[in-house]
């Protein structure tokens, strides 16, 4: 309980420090930006810590985190004292501020409770996440060292880990608990940020109707965090054996039907009757399927992410993404053109833009392009309100370019150690997404967002300037033309046209139609100076991302096998947030307008509301499934299960954490499987990713020569040099365990400048005893628990005493 409370206190304090800055940026928001102060505080304080550590002023450890925290508190106080409107704004928005704190608290403790029933850090890529969190906490120097590649800096977008580490460090929480509490803080920050953005949009759109503002905030939280794929409904019906082959097939989920009822390769082969022992589907990890609906892609969404519990950059970036959206909306809503002169007059605004958007790149590089584009639209739209378009656009470019340059400069220590693996933009030449799958995944949110169209029509007697209808088609058409050109230039034209079947083209057409309609609505509303324009634009933007992922992909390490996996994954994740925000406000606006004046809007909103309600079926079933019915032990420490199931390994972890110093290199199994052979050990299996390889390093942050090699390829590039280096390290580490004489082993240990060698259950399993060297003969055993041992590498130094 103590870590939970300490972590919560630290998060609330940080938000309190950031609030004076947040309220200067979001004064027009109902909560004066209090809900956005959580992500803003983490980003700004995290940045301060990062810079001060990188220049060597702050040392490693809790004290360094505390000092960064205290300094940030002074900055917050300074901003508050120099802002004559601070006290008035805070007083006026006290209800919103209290609501934000309440939402954060409820969401934090609620999610932490859920997570405590499934807190083990293991499986999927969670060891990697724990590794990065530990790297942020334990690295003796910054930019942080990569514990899975001793001697190298981390080459990844790791700002989210640093922010979680900040809260862990300040509250004195161990990384294994900080991991789960970090997730809870991200969940809660996402909730407050979503509520803040949706409530602000709703107030602008609907005026000061308190109930509608609260409803939009609540619905925003629900859609961002609790809505899921509509496959959740089918999972429920299938679990309770309600089968209808035509319906399931129509929605492309025939894989849920038992194999004896459907003629398909992919079908349900588990226990058939009863299929579940409970009111919810109890099939192990059934909810995973919702993230793999579209073949060869990942269609993750926030509810899935928080169920799974991977502390991944795209998850940790959720509050930051909402913060960036809020900044774009706040600028859109503001008065007067934005140009270079604005930055001279309001340097704090420029600095915050640079820190937030630069931080977004550092947090999840995929997000920065999308949300910078959204910012660009917002700034241009604002400038276009104040003057003719060419000048407005030019001013917007000057404004944004200055902020972008500042962002690159401010985050230079990270850029210099980061190697992007993006290998260029390619035209997608595949089957594309089937409409039924797209509907299952995004239908509820997209239709909710599209309610802005009937709302806009209902609000006006005329249809608005027809020019909007002429300009709007270019938005879906230009990417399509670009796709054709790209495909032709790359020589994929023929494949691109033929591979995409009728379903793929239909999806494209539907998306294009929605984008056209929403863009036209946004333009009409903008020309009428209606505050509903950003709402329509967010919907259009979200759908444009889905549309873009149907036409293009960014080349990465999956190019040869599943090329658009990451593009669909990352863009659809961003689209989910934008559609959820737009959908929540549009639904509330339509309902409010419908009940007030236009009954026809109620007719439009009712089926969409039903779909939205059905989208919660996913979470309702998946939460108890993931928590095993809340029947097991509850513990927020991610290594508690290890302590129970494998006390020796746990003791090893604690010993290494407590008795070695940050930066000391540990030799542990590479994870490659060796077998005994007559001519010496034989390599049987070289695959190490998603295994226990590098587990000591992951759990303690101590560097080891090589961890998951395939992930190193993802982070550092798939080059011959890289692969050769990773293999060399694996060979060298394996050679230590399989050496024929101590001198050979010691030479390899010295080459890595390693201090300790681990011989635990994994090493005994991966290196056959017949060939394993006897470390007792030449190393000093310093730890023993069961069959697990740690050896100290021999030391011999001459030290003068006078």
């Amino acid at each position: 309980m103590a870590p939970l409370l300490a972590f919560w206190c630290a998060a609330l304090l940080l938000a309190g420090f950031a609030f004076p800055i947040a309220q200067r940026l979001f004064r027009r928001f109902p909560d004066a930006g209090a809900g956005l102060a959580f992500p803003l505080g983490l980003m700004l304080c995290g940045y301060g810590y990062f810079v001060l550590r990188s220049v060597g002023i702050l040392p490693q450890g809790q004290g360094g985190f505390l000092l960064a925290f205290a300094l940030f508190g002074l900055v917050g106080l300074l901003v508050a004292r120099t802002d004559p409107r601070f006290a008035g704004t805070a007083r006026r928005s006290s209800a919103g501020i209290a609501a934000s704190a309440g939402v954060f608290t409820a969401a934090f403790f609620g999610y932490a409770t859920f997570r405590s029933y499934q807190s083990a850090i293991g499986g999927t890529e969670q060891p990697m996440d724990l590794l990065f969190l530990n790297a942020m906490l334990e690295s003796p120097s910054y930019p942080p060292e990569d514990p899975w590649l001793a001697g190298s800096s981390v080459s990844y977008y790791y700002f989210g880990y640093l922010q979680s580490a900040l809260l862990s460090g300040v509250s004195g929480t161990e990384a294994s608990a900080g991991y789960n509490l970090g997730l809870a803080a991200v969940f809660a920050s996402t909730a407050t940020a979503a509520a803040s953005v949706c409530a602000a949009l709703a107030r602008w759109v609907l005026g000061h109707g308190q109930h509608a503002v609260v409803a939009a905030g609540a619905l925003g939280v629900a859609l961002v965090l609790f809505a899921g794929s509509l496959i959740g409904v089918f999972e429920f019906t299938a679990a309770h054996e309600r089968y209808s082959e035509p319906v399931y097939s129509a929605f492309g989920v025939e894989s849920l039907l038992p194999c004896d009822q459907v003629d398909a390769d992919d079908c349900y082969a588990g226990q058939t009757s009863p299929r579940t022992q409970s009111w919810y589907p109890d099939e192990y990890w059934y909810w995973w399927r919702a993230s793999r609906i579209i073949p060869d892609t990942i269609t993750e969404f926030p509810a899935f992410s928080f169920l799974l519990g991977d502390l991944h950059p795209h998850v940790m970036a959720l509050p930051g993404v909402l913060l960036a959206t809020a900044l774009a909306l706040a600028l859109w809503r503001g008065q007067g053109p934005l140009g270079f002169h604005t930055l001279r007059r309001k340097p704090l605004l420029g600095l915050m833009l640079a820190l937030v958007f630069g931080g977004l790149a550092f947090q999840n590089t995929w997000d920065v392009l999308t949300f910078s584009a959204l910012l660009g639209v917002a700034v241009t739209a604002r400038n276009a309100r104040a003057g003719p378009f060419p000048g407005a656009a030019l001013d917007a470019v000057r404004f944004l370019a200055s902020a972008a340059i500042a962002a690159v400069v401010l985050y230079a220590p990270w850029w210099t150690t980061f190697a992007s693996q993006a290998g260029g933009l390619y035209a997608y030449a595949g089957a594309g997404t089937q409409p039924n799958h797209a509907f299952l995944q995004f239908g509820a949110l997209a239709l909710a967002a599209a309610l802005v169209i009937p709302w806009a029509i209902a609000r006006s007697r005329s249809t608005g300037p027809l020019s909007a209808l002429v300009y709007a088609p270019w938005l879906p058409l230009v990417p399509l033309l670009a796709w054709a050109v790209f495909a032709a230039v790359r020589g994929d034209w023929s494949d691109a046209v033929t591979e995409r079947g009728a379903g793929g083209w239909a999806t494209l057409a539907i998306l294009a139609a929605f984008i056209w309609a929403l863009t036209a609505t946004a333009l009409v509303l903008h020309q009428r100076r209606s505050p509903g324009a950003p709402m329509a634009a967010l919907g259009a933007f979200g759908l444009l991302l889905l549309y873009g992922a149907e036409l293009f992909f960014i080349r990465d390490v999956f190019f040869g096998s599943i090329p658009r996996l990451n593009t669909v994954f990352k863009l659809s994740y961003q689209a989910w947030v934008l559609l959820a925000v737009a959908g929540a406000v549009a639904l509330v606006a339509a309902a409010a307008e419908g009940f007030r004046r236009q009954r026809s809007l109620v007719i439009a909103a009712a089926p969409v509301s039903l779909l939205v309600l059905l989208s919660f079926a996913y979470v309702i079933g998946a939460v108890p499934n993931r928590a095993d019915g809340f029947a097991g032990d509850s513990n927020i420490d991610g290594l508690a299960q290890l302590a129970r199931n494998n006390p020796d390994e746990y003791a090893l972890t604690r010993w290494i954490a407590n008795n070695t110093r940050p930066g000391e290199t540990i030799i542990e199994a590479t994870g490659r499987q060796w077998t005994a052979g007559e001519d010496g050990p034989q390599l049987q299996d070289g695959g190490v990713s998603y295994t226990d390889a590098g587990r000591v390093s992951s759990r303690t942050g101590r560097p080891t020569p090589i961890g998951w090699d395939a992930h190193q390829v993802q982070w550092r590039g798939d080059t011959e040099d890289n692969r050769a280096e990773f293999t060399r390290r694996q060979d060298a580490v394996d050679a230590i365990y399989l050496a024929e004489d101590p001198a050979e082993a010691l030479a390899q240990i010295d080459a890595f400048d390693a201090e300790y060698v681990v011989l635990g259950s994994l090493e005994r399993e991966r290196y056959p005893e017949a060939h394993r060297i006897d470390f007792d003969a030449f190393l000093e055993p310093v730890f023993e628990s069961g069959e697990t041992r740690v050896y100290r590498v021999p030391v011999s130094d001459e030290v003068p005493t006078s």
Binding site: G63, L67, S796, V799, T801
Partner: protein
């Protein structure tokens, strides 16, 4: 207040000695005497052991991460080149800390004479700051510097020139002044009264020079970019400088001051929004001291489970300044209480408490809780005492008399703690761990063994940090994990078997003593309090092997 001689009658000039001056002198004498004792009486231990080792390494040109180049640490290294004992650096720290009474004396205009005297008295008997002010840790100048920083921060009409000096001093000191500097920055922002641009610029430049000089190790070698107070502040959350946790040390020595500080801070905060009744400078010092205490308390609370007591001193120092004015008022109010029933009630309550304590002390003597009848008696007496105290506190006319038991208990704890720390029993849990005298004996013995041979003195790697100080000026050590063939003397952790050709040196050898602290239980605390010599000493044993036959 004055004392005048009656000599006027005899026709001589009248000599007037203000009583206040005498009291100032007396309290200063107490302050200095307690600290002077530390120089010779207190064993090397805690962070002093770590930092003396670091300074020694620096003085002989060995890289050692225990050398954190504060100005004092640099002076220590220089002084160790002149004389290898801890006495000179301790004397230097003492001389610096001896200026503290003057600083408090100068503050009397802001906090009042009585409050100043009481603050000095509280500082004199505050065990953690007492030790920190004389021990040769990296923070040897911290206590004095913090007091002077406070004087300069609150004195009106100060010229600009002290600021750069203070800027330099703060960035080359330990973590204690950092807490005050933070509180001062907080208050300056809150009051909207930042340093004017020119002094700010000059101060920042001086601070940068300080960082540069510290990074250069004051001439002892490049340390990387280093801000010593930040480095040492961070180390307090990671280091093992005390056997018990900071909260444990507070429980033994400083809890009355911390509780009184918290109460005083609450009282100050309650009148925070009220317009100042005092002149601005007085107003400033009280608020600054409150902010300082809260910052110190926060850093202590966050790090209370860590094994370093520096954050405790960072909380007790300001506590003295905010408690003193309220204590003065409470004492005045106590003397002004004319309600006989209040005094009678207090007498009864104290009598009941004494009866309960007699039983508890008896339990403590035998280290066990007595039979049920005794427990019932103590519970009833305790409840009656609590009810009596509550009744006295409830009635405004009798409330002030509660000062008497509060001051009595606090004085008992603080004075006994200060005297025991100052006169340095080797059984006192602070400072601990200690470098035992036996370690130096062992060093002499080892030298004796090696005198006639070319053999080497080998120390196991795990004992590396423990031998730097006691083995200084002996011979080149070989720090190793396995004993080489040419070892003449080998010191290894207990339980190791002798290498070939070596035999154990008879005796119970130890390089480190931990003075066990009484557990967080009333009985244990009373037992320790009434007989401090009962403390267990945990001697971390080592084996000593010498070359020879069985």
């Amino acid at each position: 207040m004055s004392l005048s001689s009656d000599a006027g009658k005899a026709g001589r000039a009248i000599t007037v000695v203000p009583l206040a001056s005498l009291v100032w002198l007396a309290v200063t004498a107490v302050f200095l005497t307690l600290r002077a004792a530390v120089i010779w009486e207190v064993p090397v231990g805690g962070s002093e052991w770590v930092h003396l080792s670091g300074a020694w390494s620096a003085s002989i040109g060995v890289d050692d991460e225990r050398f954190v180049p504060t100005l004092f640490q640099a002076f220590t290294a220089v002084l160790l080149e002149l004389d290898s004992s801890e006495a000179l650096p301790r004397t230097l720290a003492f001389l610096a800390t001896a200026s503290l009474p003057l600083a408090v004396y100068l503050l009397r205009e802001q906090i009042g004479t009585v409050a100043g005297l009481l603050a000095l008295l509280l500082l004199a008997i505050d065990a953690p700051s007492l030790w920190l002010g004389v021990a040769a840790t990296s923070s040897g100048f911290d206590v004095a510097l913090t007091a002077w920083l406070l004087v300069f921060l609150v004195r009106p009409g100060l010229p600009w020139w002290p600021w750069p000096v203070l800027g330099f001093a703060v960035v080359t000191a330990g973590p204690v002044p950092l807490v005050l500097a933070f509180a001062a920055a907080f208050m300056a922002i809150l009051r909207g009264s930042p340093l004017p641009p020119v002094p700010a610029l000059v101060t920042a430049s001086a601070a940068l020079i300080g960082v540069l000089v510290a990074s250069l190790g004051f001439g002892y070698g490049w340390q990387g970019i280093l801000v010593p107070p930040i480095e040492l502040f961070a180390q307090t959350y990671e280091a093992d400088w005390t056997t018990g946790s900071a909260i444990h040390v507070a429980w033994l020595y400083s809890w009355p001051l911390l509780i009184a500080g918290a109460v005083a801070a609450v009282l100050e905060l309650r009148r925070w929004r009220e317009p100042p009744l005092e002149p601005d400078s007085v107003f400033t010092v009280r608020r600054l001291a409150t902010a300082w205490f809260l910052a110190g308390l926060l850093s202590f609370l966050v790090g209370m489970s860590t094994n370093a007591a520096v954050t405790l001193a960072a909380a007790t120092l300001p506590a003295a300044f905010i408690v003193a004015p309220w204590l003065g008022r409470a004492i005045d109010a106590t003397f002004a209480t004319r309600d006989g029933y209040a005094w009678l009630g207090l007498g009864i309550v104290l009598f009941l408490a004494a009866l309960a304590m007699i039983v508890i002390v008896d339990w403590a003597r035998f280290d066990r809780v007595g039979p049920g009848g005794e427990v019932a008696r103590v519970v009833i007496l305790g409840a009656a005492t609590a009810a009596g105290l509550a009744a006295l506190a409830y009635l405004p006319r009798s409330r002030a008399v509660l000062t008497v038991p509060a001051v009595f208990v606090a004085a008992l704890v603080l004075v006994s703690g200060a005297f025991h720390v100052a006169f340095g029993s080797r059984m006192e849990p602070f400072p601990s761990p200690q470098s035992p005298v036996q370690a130096e004996t062992l060093a002499d013995l080892a030298l004796e063994q090696l005198e006639a041979t070319e053999d080497t003195l080998v120390v196991h790697e795990s004992l590396r940090d423990r031998v730097t100080w006691p083995f200084r000026e002996t011979t080149t050590l070989v720090i190793a994990t396995t004993i080489p063939q040419d070892a003449g003397v080998a010191i290894v952790p207990a339980g190791e078997s002798p290498p070939d050709g070596m035999v154990p040196l008879e005796g119970d050898w130890s390089l480190e003593h931990h003075i066990e602290q009484p557990a967080f239980e009333l009985i244990r605390y009373v037992r320790w309090f009434t007989d401090r010599n009962r403390t267990d000493v945990d001697r971390v044993p080592v084996e000593v092997f010498v070359r020879g036959d069985e």
